[in-house]
């Protein structure tokens, strides 16, 4: 299998969509002449022209809202928001409009829209550029939220998102862009709402998504050296959420840890933990462990930022507490 970066997997998949379907076009801040903040769309403007690759004013609400309108009219826009932090300026269009128009019209309209958002901390970017707010969007019926952790998943999930008839928030942890992985040959889709067992194990189920899956895999590797066999489940999709895979695993291993990059309070990890208790309480040999980010705005200083983000060490500690 070819090896490529997460960034290359996204770019390849976007390029194919533009080639295959005239209805697809991309809108975002600095995606064209500048080449994309994270360089995903570098070269696209020269290849596809200004009609398909649209540099936008810094005005997130009109970026998303005009994409919603274009999608309602039957086009298939792709929006790149510079980061998930800036998506808050478009929250009205995402939550009040994209997620609602189909339902409140009685099913008369569709909003086939992909909104790509870099997310997460760890880049020394401070409090306003380092949040992982995908859980907020996963709260909202009418939206789909996807957060792949590997280049292969990024390619398959993006292709599925681009063909979905709903609004999909496609979350890309910014630290993943340069990561490499094997990617299957050819074009393929990974259905939204299907978790993936990234590593099989029999004693603990470790549930995570996006970049922290990589820390979980590292933790599992190290724990195996100590004789603890950990199963790592990558949710891949927060909404729809594949709890069947999680519960089946927990019922086998009888122990679970949920790991997420951001705050516990009101967040997505707590959601997964409640669903584990609801669906597998009688199977548990220990309370579900929980690894999350520090409950602070992200600090800038290298040491403090590092302390705010969960690591493989934190995951190992949480797993060991279950025994």
């Amino acid at each position: 299998m070819p090896v490529m970066t997460y960034r290359e997997a996204l770019a390849l998949t976007l390029r194919e969509a533009l080639q295959e379907d005239e209805r697809v076009f991309i809108m975002g801040e600095d995606i064209g002449a500048y080449g994309g903040t994270y360089a995903v769309t570098r070269g696209f403007l020269a290849e596809f022209g200004e009609r398909r690759i649209r540099d936008m004013p810094i005005a997130e609400s009109i970026i998303v809202g005009s994409a919603v309108g274009a999608a309602m009219a039957g086009l298939r826009p792709v929006v790149e928001l510079m980061t998930i932090n800036f998506s808050l300026l478009a929250m009205d269009q995402i939550v009040n409009h994209a997620a609602k128009v189909r339902y409140m019209s009685g099913g008369q309209v569709k909003v086939p829209l992909v909104i790509r958002v870099p997310s997460g901390g760890g880049n020394l970017l401070g409090a306003q550029h380092s949040q992982s707010l995908e859980g907020w969007y996963a709260h909202v019926p009418g939206l789909k939220v996807v957060a792949p952790s590997t280049p292969a998943d990024a390619r398959g999930l993006l292709r599925a998102a681009l063909r979905d008839d709903n609004t999909v928030l496609f979350v890309e942890n910014a630290l993943l862009y340069g990561t490499k992985g094997e990617v299957p040959e050819g074009k393929y889709e990974i259905p939204l709402g299907r978790a993936d067992i990234k590593r099989a194990g029999s004693q603990v189920t470790l549930v995570s998504y996006s970049r922290l899956v990589l820390s979980c895999l590292e933790a599992a590797q190290r724990l195996a050296g100590e004789g603890i066999e950990v199963e790592v489940i990558d949710l891949r999709s927060l909404r729809p959420l594949d709890m069947d895979t999680v519960l089946a695993s927990v019922k086998r291993t009888r122990r679970a840890v949920v790991a997420e990059e951001t705050w516990k309070t009101g967040g997505f990890g707590g959601e997964v933990i409640s669903l584990i208790y609801e669906g597998a309480f009688d199977h548990l040999d220990a309370p579900v462990g929980w690894v999350a980010g520090a409950e602070v705005p992200m600090p800038y200083a290298r040491n403090l930022e590092k302390a705010a983000l969960p690591t493989a060490d934190d995951v190992i500690k949480a797993v060991k507490k279950l025994f």
């Binding site: 004013p57 309108g69 189909r102 019209s105 009685g106 099913g107 008839d165």
Partner: protein, 317 residues
């Protein structure tokens, strides 16, 4: 202007007026719940502008949109059924008064977030331009929308891309209970268009002929590919913001002054003065409005509510 067109305006305005009066009655009787925003007093604006459109042109509007829906030709019975929360409603009972949709008539919704429909209207116009279609988008909003960021973002993008949008501000002077002049640095909405290099005009929103003529010129400009246009129609809602409004923020004198400029009365007097409307003709139009609205209520009454399984339908495509 020819008599047939003016009579058609009168017919539509009488229908809207009667529909809204009956809606208020049905609300008082508990048949309609939630918020109900009546269009009484503003009929000339929607009727005059929508008459200048083609059927393929899109409409995106606000939560005070019963009149716009009727002027666009949505079925009165299906609109009333939507207000009643019935399965036969235009939005299958899931939208309500504030969210009337009929995609088959290019009526893309009432939106209940102030200015929230504006980016969507711009997007529909973008789609038309992207595909090389001749259709334009009418985006209706109130004076309350003009201090929202989405207003400015929408005007800017529509202008910079020369998108075919006719922005229609129905300026009824109050955003709920707040007079536009109290909270706006530039209360003359049409003047704001200059900031985005968009041609604009203010028109008497009580005079359906003036509205229609201004709209025709605006539509022509927009359809020519030269970009958006902003039309400000100054009007007045004769009732409160919604049924819950005690109307404490304006004087009875002001209301009486505006009611003396009732758009229906203005047109009726004009037609009668010119000998273009006889008593029997007017009576026939009034009887028609009465009959259509009565039939709409009967249809809504007789319709079933959405089935329980509709609760989970159409969350996703």
């Amino acid at each position: 202007m020819d008599k047939a067109r003016l009579l058609e305006f009168l017919r539509q305005m009488l229908l809207i007026r009667r529909f809204e009066e009956k809606s208020a009655e049905m609300y008082a009787r508990g048949k309609i719940g939630g918020f109900l925003h009546l269009y009484i007093g503003q009929e000339a604006t929607g009727v005059g502008v929508i008459a200048a459109l083609r059927p393929e042109d899109h409409i995106v509007t606000t939560y005070r949109e019963h009149g716009h829906a009727l002027a666009r030709g949505l079925e009165p019975g299906a609109i009333m059924a939507e207000l009643f929360g019935k399965a036969t409603g235009v939005s299958h009972g899931k939208g309500g008064s504030m969210h009337l949709f009929d995609a088959s008539k290019n009526f893309w919704g009432g939106y209940a977030i102030v200015a929230g429909g504006m980016p969507i209207a711009v997007g529909l116009a973008l789609a038309a331009q992207y595909r090389g279609e001749a259709r334009i988008v009418l985006n209706i909003f109130g004076d309350g929308a003009v201090n929202e960021g989405e207003f400015h973002e929408a005007l800017n993008l529509a202008s910079v891309w020369k998108l075919p949008v006719l922005f229609l501000c129905e300026n009824n002077l109050y955003a709920m209970g707040t007079a536009i002049a109290r909270v706006s640095a530039v209360p003359e909405v049409y003047r704001r268009a200059a900031a985005y290099d968009i041609p604009a005009q203010r028109v008497d929103g009580q005079d359906v002929e003036a509205v229609y003529e201004a709209a025709q010129a605006a539509v022509e400009q927009v359809r020519s590919g030269r970009g958006p246009y902003l039309l400000e129609a100054v009007t007045y809602r004769f009732r409160g913001h919604s049924m819950a409004d005690a109307v404490l923020y304006r004087t009875r004198e002001e209301e009486e002054q505006w009611k003396a400029r009732d758009p229906i009365e203005l047109l009726r007097r004009r037609l009668e003065k010119d000998g273009q409307l006889t008593g029997p003709e007017l009576a026939a139009l009034q009887a028609e409005a009465e009959q259509v609205v009565a039939a709409a209520v009967a249809f809504a009454e007789a319709s079933p509510p959405p089935p329980p399984e509709a609760l989970y339908e159409d969350v996703y495509a």
